[in-house]
Symmetry: D2
Subunit: 485 residues, 4 copies
């Protein structure tokens, strides 16, 4: 097993004297045999095998959990927690658990919340956090620390980390995959420097991060600068993406709450469609680069006639197109429900001259609203095809009613385990890593690897086949080829 | 008491032999003294008196409930139920209770659901309804009968009523108060003819109606034509307006469910606003001509900083304007939540050339989206006033997620009592009337009176004062006068 | 009108110089004509009339709302708020609104929460309340002030009021109608002394109260003692009874939330019953002396086959009994759902020797659990009648899951108006009164009157007839007479 | 890999000509490379390794999914679906998906629902199921097919299978681990005969099963008899245990919905406890042999002070006991919340003479109600320790309100994948197997293996340590040893 499997090593602080884990003294933990995790405890990345195929390279990740020796004297830790980017159910649970875990398990007493995302490092006062203060935070949606998007001053952030003496920083964040060109250059630098490996032995601190859209690139920059300055800071990232578009780990936190909440919107759309003559219910769900929420919500609801996602091209007119399909559905059932992920069909939406120029903060073309466009395209089509006949499109965009709720029980528990995994890892001296479940077991993954992956819906596997089977929606790809002369 | 109070008389069928109410034989009803309602049982329209003021004219309405004698032989009744206009929580409960009540209480066996609103009378097959079929309908949102808006062919409808022999029609509907000009002319004719009083003694049938926006004008036309043809049809209307904009009655069905559901949207807006730097949460709630939902949702939630309704003019710029208020709120609290009724500020939204031309099915200027406009006005203002500073507006339009849900327990019970009141009235021979609670007791009101009223928020009473006190929002009207040189 | 109607006068503080209402200066209120309420503004207690009957005596109550002149200098007010007895949705909203209203409307700054009910006056520290502290209380179930039942030391309470200088006390409470003998003696004294009328001109304070079961008798005693000591204390009571068993007012707060929550339990019972062979779902709902929750929950749900309430006797065996009815239902449908109010059938449940002796804190026989008894009676019956045949009773007692939730939107708004009415009344110098809606309008009612009434389900009116019609349950009373030889 | 890993082989029908999978022709599936699962596709049972330890034996299971060749001519399939035992969220979803999947994917047209559990095979008419009929079943709690417990006539069941020609039977069920002695003897026979391996080549049918508590022993008996008669019946079991006490698979369906619903009960208990003086909220959650629901609900809620489960002994009196702990909690916080799994403390509850004799249908001692016992033990303790002091225990048993709800989105999706896995397996000719996720991937597991396992909470692992850390509850086991002299 061992020889055929390569273990993904983690960057780590060095030069710090190891000390016994204070869990040893904790009356609630029994550090009996098997309780502590050692470097030889690993999680296999692959559990599905085709025994008839040639042997494939296999990977294993270090298992998350408490180590017998840690690298920090708890009383010397000063931890910083930041939340960046858009909202996601469970952010407050992650913050709460980081605070409670550091305090109760390791006896850390200096824990700071950085308000308002990255900029908060230099533009706002940090908030002292303790278990009493965060006691009920897991029952609130959003992030009590508040968050922000957009640009920031890197040097000021690292100045702040240095000045304030933060030696653990936890970010909850995710980079926005649409800010492509900027990311690319960052990743190249990133890979060139293999920065987490070359952490300087003189560094003597640690850092935690929590954040989201467009902000992981910030984490990377911060690491670089932290590294350049040879700071002794442990840095960890908890991926925050309600879209579930992060690779390697089983799923992202908040995702199941989002799927749950999406059911309400789909039900409403279904009722509106059923109550009308030739009624279409159209629901736009989150998912800029991936359609996981749309797919799961469709399979859970069963009221959906067609599910459109970014991973699958579709077209409106002609044989095998969306209009032909809807025409038939209205004829058969009198109504239809469409679910569209926000990233679907971006290339089909006509851009105005100004939209062709307008760029977002990262220099990319602005994102267009597929729901509004599809609604008007549907109306235009029907008016042209069936002038005078009744037709209704009810469009629902439940985005904020989905992402601003508190985490459900499943996600609350998940956030707890994520936060505790992160704490154990940082205290053990790991840095530049991400915590998350792999095949159901919590592991530590180099940030480098996570940043290079993307979890897309595989439109040629069974799950997507089943969506199509459930909805009976057209196979746009095959149909399209069929159209070609 | 009696002499000073004038009783609002109801149009009634005549020339039909009265027969004993079959409730007499029903084992579940004890027609003991006081059970049956007589014409001398009335409900006072006024309960609040200023004893120091001069005596005011007083009105009383006939109390709803079973009469000892009825005008139909149950086996000869053929009832039609129609739902028209937009959705409203509780429509299915009303339908269900009409069916179950006619069937169980009076032994009626021919009950038809007209699908798809008015047009369904002539363009679709009616559905035979019975208690078993409608058993679970009250747990579904929308209307199982389905509904529609827009034009219809009056003569075909009355032909259908005549041809199918419907002698009871129940409409659930309400006229859209923005379709002003058309309505006006209808109301005039309506008053001139006093049509419900001149019901011809030869008429031998009855009609039920259920419906909404823009459709009560249809009911009026149908009455006229039914009257002209001297049909013996009992017609009743159950006002269906989630906006609660109907006068005389205490409140409309579905309204309390809508207020309940609006809390979710306001909570989400509050979370989004709190989690951002200079965050505004903006929620648009239903209410084209009246702000009842916005007002009640604001008072129930307490997370709202400003509530804008059609009954109150507001302005954005300058001293005492909305922007000044928000500037201060953001400075004080870092975030703010706005609730805007869809009918607020219509006159302030700039119309494009095409919007100046575009008219809806009833010939009125199209209704503009105050939420979208306000969102962009807020962004423009901030960008101008605080260029480069963080600012976020999260806009939520929960309309369909509010109106497409099943009725809550309160509304379910209310719909039951509405439907039963309507049944007893029609069976007793009344026609052209509306059922509804007046000061907590169910009464019959001439359709003529209801059609002339509108229930607006009184911005000079205590409730609105308390909204302003809760939100501390500016007194736009006074301020505006203060601005005048 | 005026001469035929007698107005229910309120006890009032005297000897205090009147001063202008500070609302006059409040930018959010426009004390224009009609805004202030005068003593000539009244609410009629009766709106349903039988014009053919002889003229009946008529009553009117003073309308609630702000008075132009008040009896307290706001800076000299020291208000106490107490919650007593069992939980009820909305208690925290009432507390919150009392605090916010006193503070924002009248400028009162000394507002104390008495923790733990009556005993808290002398056994615990009062909590200083202010708008910031209570900001989110309306979103929490229960009472943040906490509550208790059982005995208390009257003299210590009044000592505490005197010592702490409370001059306004608001109780939220209701007396338990089963503590009969004690109550009776209290009521007699109460009536003999007509104590609220003989308020001494030397009294210079005010008191607020909030509470429930078994505690209004406490309020009465406190009034007596306050009166004996000639304290200048304004006292008001907000009836807190989720059972809706208080008379005169339209309904009690929390009741509609309770009916809403009861739907979940009935649905679960229905599912359990339907999923079994000969399945009975049995739900016990609150209501010791009245069956309002059971009745409303039954009418809202429609899944109930039989609804048993304290106002109606029932019997199990023999012709027309419950078992016969259930036998038929199981034969016809295979399952049945029973709703039983907790006070139903008390006299039928056999008492053990110890239960015949055991008395509660007030000296009454202990209350027995009708749900547990009925469940075992059903099993015993079936085993005897159909030995070996499948049969299942699933018993649900959702009491705490119903009463411990936050108020819904409807009740939140209601609690707000109750609290504000109370504040305006006390500030105007009224004492010994209750606030509440009468025919939809808020009024002040002498505590004496409210304490003498009880709102019972009228089993000979239409609403109960309709319950029976909906459920088809037997008419136990008639049947029982039929059985008599 | 292959050589070190032993594959768990499945019993299979034989002697049936293989035919092409009709999915080949299904427009919604692309049987491209990698779509079909072959016998060499396996799932590893172990993903966590200690590389430093000696090599352990490794197991792999056959991966679930469609096979290129199947063993049934779809038109000849007659499938039976049975649900047995107690309710669990998601049963209707499983039924629905079995029906829709067999119909849409494989073209099967004869699908029968057996009503009322096992007995339904011979005592009731089977129900013909089709996609239209089951369309909305996944939105209903319970099982539309209905279920039952208790004895049955094995021979009649197999007679019925034979007589009706069912050749696929799907059971949803689980055996009750407390019916120990009966189960033991069954398991022994089971192991001796290795019955699934010796399926006779002459057998020509298949069977599906769905069920629960105390019913898997039924499935085993049925297999035996089916085998003895050499019937050609494919049999599959979908484990139905809301307690999550089934081994090998990741979790059981309905479990996450149950944890979600348990939050409501814990919240209510928390509110009741907080609103009282020395208030205890006590919640009993499902879990006869395992405490998974209690554990997960505790970790998700955070309002729990102590969580008692069957896997951990506890004691009340003395040093380190529950009473001492609660005494301290009440002193510190004034209230406490207890969660107790129904199987906890069974051996501590005193049995009456009759309870010592009374045995359930399977011959075991009756199960006692730990919640009722604990409530009275708490009251007795306080009365003895603190006579006269206020103390309240509010006991909530939300069992039926938790298990009778529809599945949430997560469980709905899970049930879908379970059902589809089962269908593919049976159609491919496997029998005597269970479908379920192993390390996140769906596999087929021999029924024999599943029946021998039990998924218990490991009280020496990190998750339980974290529960103790969250609650700070005593370590009863260590404390107890500490007490021994």
């Amino acid at each position: 097993m061992a020889d055929a499997t390569s273990i993904r090593e983690l960057p780590s602080l060095t030069g710090i004297r190891l000390r016994r884990n204070p869990l040893e003294e904790n009356p609630f933990f029994h550090p009996s045999h098997g309780f502590y995790i050692t470097p030889s405890d690993v999680i296999l990345s692959q559990v599905v095998y085709d025994l008839s195929a040639d042997s494939q390279p296999r990977y294993a990740y270090h298992r998350a959990g408490p180590r017998q020796e840690i690298m920090y004297e708890p009383s010397s830790v000063k931890a910083a927690i930041v939340t960046c980017g858009g909202l996601c159910p469970g952010m407050n649970t992650v913050i709460r658990e980081l605070v409670v875990g550091l305090w109760e398990l390791y006896g850390v007493r200096k824990i700071c919340g950085i308000p308002a995302g990255y900029r908060g490092f230099y533009s706002m006062e940090a908030v002292e956090l303790n278990p009493k203060l965060v006691h009920n935070w897991h029952k609130k949606g959003g992030t009590v620390l508040s968050t922000s998007r957009g640009g920031f001053d890197l040097l000021k952030i690292v100045d702040s980390i240095q000045l304030n003496g933060y030696n653990q920083v936890c970010f909850t964040l995710w980079f926005d995959l649409f800010f492509g060109n900027l990311i690319c250059s960052l990743e190249i630098e990133f890979k060139k420097q293999i920065l987490f490996r070359c952490v300087d032995p003189q560094m003597r601190h640690q850092v935690y991060i929590i954040g989201g859209d467009g902000t992981m690139r910030g984490a990377v920059k911060i690491f670089e600068e932290v590294s350049r300055r040879k700071l002794e800071v442990g840095i960890t990232v908890i991926p925050k993406t309600v879209d579930n578009d992060v690779g390697i780990i089983d799923r992202s936190f908040g995702f199941q709450t989002a799927v749950e909440m999406a059911q309400e919107a789909i039900s409403a759309a279904h009722v509106e469609a059923e109550s009308a003559v030739n009624g279409i219910g159209l629901v736009k769900l989150m998912g800029r680069s991936t359609g996981h929420i749309a797919l799961h919500a469709t399979l859970s609801s069963r009221d959906v006639d067609c599910c459109l996602i970014p991973e699958m091209e579709f077209y409106l007119e002609g044989k095998g197109g969306l209009f032909e399909f809807l025409e038939q559905r209205l004829k058969d059932h009198g109504h239809a429900v469409l679910v569209v992920a926000e990233g679907a069909g971006q290339e089909m939406i006509p851009r105005s001259e100004s939209q062709k120029q307008e760029r977002d903060e990262s220099g990319n073309l602005v994102f267009l609203d597929v729901g509004v466009w599809l609604k008007s395209a549907l109306k235009e089509w029907w008016g042209r095809k069936h002038p005078g006949e009744l037709f209704t499109v009810k469009y629902i965009d439940p985005t904020y009613m989905i992402r601003a709720v508190p985490a459900n029980a499943t996600d609350n528990l998940y956030c707890t385990l994520l936060a505790h995994s992160a704490i154990h890892g940082v205290m053990a001296g790991y840095t530049g890593f991400v915590s998350g479940p792999i095949n159901g077991n919590y592991a530590y993954i180099p940030l480098e690897e996570v940043a290079q992956t993307k979890n897309e819906v595989n439109t040629s596997d069974h799950k997507w086949a089943w969506v199509r089977s459930v909805t009976n929606q057209p196979d746009f790809e095959t149909n399209f080829k069929g159209q070609t002369p």
